[in-house]
């Protein structure tokens, strides 16, 4: 088993999906959370290929950057990526679509101007609705929608979806009420014993 160090800030944001993959796979890793004040020095050390986090250090030998590259690598290593090339492509498609949710929420969260913030929220709810409607359709097309987004077992697409929907309170806490299959999926993910355990023990963060 390789030694893994996952490096990020003490937030969920772009590392949480990888943390959930580790949890679902039952793989141990060092969950490094760099304090904001320490970051300039860390960045200057040159350890981080693109001067950004998250990064995954593998066996002290290679440092992988880019959150999705990390997630995909771990998912492939531990059987959470999809069974064949086509399933993996569908999983990837969901990952990228969920990225749009993350970026929308992040922009709202960091907006200081209250008027602008309200405007962004209103715009984003419309966008989120169209994304979720498409995901609901995709889920239902997968054997009726009572399982997972792609294939017939949990993949990191389901984990990423769950992680992004944890941000629903930032734009519309009850949004999943309109998408019953997606709502049930989110509950199914959080009930996977390893995930439930992680959700209980992980540090509580605002974002």
């Amino acid at each position: 088993m390789p030694q893994y160090r996952l490096m990020y800030f003490n937030i969920r944001a772009r590392a949480e999906t990888s943390r959930m993959i580790f949890a679902a796979a039952g793989v141990e890793y060092e969950d490094v959370r760099v304090a904001r004040e320490q970051w300039p020095a860390e960045k200057a050390s040159g350890k981080y290929p693109f001067g950004q986090m998250p990064c995954l250090e593998i066996d002290g030998k290679f440092t992988l950057a880019q959150s999705r590259a990390i997630g995909r690598y771990l998912a492939n290593e531990y059987g959470l990526a999809g069974k064949d090339n086509l399933e993996k492509a569908k999983v990837d498609m969901v990952i990228y679509v969920c990225e749009d949710i993350y970026v929308g929420v992040r922009n709202i969260f960091f907006e200081k101007d209250e008027t602008k913030k309200a405007e962004m929220k209103a715009d984003f709810v419309v966008k989120a609705d169209s994304i979720l409607a498409a995901l609901e359709k995709l889920l239902i097309a997968n054997n009726g929608g009572n399982g997972y987004l792609v294939g017939d077992s949990l993949t990191w697409a389901d984990l990423e979806f769950f992680v992004r929907m944890e941000y629903a309170p930032f734009f519309n806490a009850a949004i999943l009420d309109q998408y019953p299959k997606l709502k049930a999926l989110a509950e199914r993910v959080s009930s996977v014993p390893e995930i439930a355990a992680w959700l209980k023990k992980r540090p509580k963060t605002d974002f």
């Binding site: 290929p49 693109f50 001067g51 593998i58 290679f62 992988l64 950057a65 880019q66 999705r68 590259a69 990390i70 995909r72 690598y73 492939n76 290593e77 090339n85 086509l86 993996k88 492509a89 569908k90 990837d92 498609m93 990952i95 990228y96 679509v97 169209s130 994304i131 498409a134 359709k137 995709l138």
Partner: protein
């Protein structure tokens, strides 16, 4: 009848890496290019799950999201990298190229001149950081006289090439400081 249809507008943009992967693999494909009006009609059919292009149609299945498509084709035709780790390195590089594309798009769409200048300065720094990192990754791969990952061309090299076509058109000497 080619197995794959790459569906996009008549531009390089987000479809070019996929077109390059298929070409490098010597695989024939239908290179579908919609006009804006044609796209509006197509989009209304609801065939395209997320209402966006590019899409890949293969054996009746439609996949969206440019990098999902490029990666799928690269995996199908042996241009993804050999090991999981090589594939992850390739992913890291294509994601970095995406950052360059997004930075460019942001500037392109910014109407306010002052904000545009600000974005351009930021983007200049971003390009420098990313290119320096890519140069390091490349030279770490057997001295840098081959390809980004492993010992053959991969989707990483093709994505980089496609992105550089854009950056070089506005700064022809951009890569002079990055010999590899």
């Amino acid at each position: 009848m080619p197995k794959h249809r790459v569906i996009y507008f008549n531009a390089r943009g987000r479809a070019e890496p996929s077109r390059l992967v298929l070409s490098a693999a010597g695989v024939e494909f239908e290179d579908v290019r919609f006009t804006n009006e044609e796209w509006q009609t197509e989009k209304a059919t609801g065939k395209y799950e997320f209402g966006q292009l590019p899409c890949l149609e293969t054996d009746g299945v439609i996949i969206g999201q440019s990098r999902a498509i490029a990666r799928y084709l690269a995996n199908e035709y042996g241009l993804a990298g050999k090991t999981n780790l090589d594939k992850a390195k390739a992913d890291m590089i294509t994601d970095a190229c995406e950052d360059l594309l997004q930075g460019m798009a942001k500037i392109h769409y910014e109407k306010d001149e002052a904000k545009k200048k600000e974005l351009q300065t930021e983007y200049g720094k971003k390009i420098a950081t990313i290119l320096a990192a890519l140069e390091k990754i490349l030279t770490a791969n057997n001295g840098g006289d081959g390809f980004f990952v492993g010992d053959g061309v991969s989707v990483a090299d093709l994505s980089f090439f496609a992105q550089m076509e854009y950056n070089l058109s506005s700064a022809a000497d951009l890569l002079d400081s990055y010999p590899s």
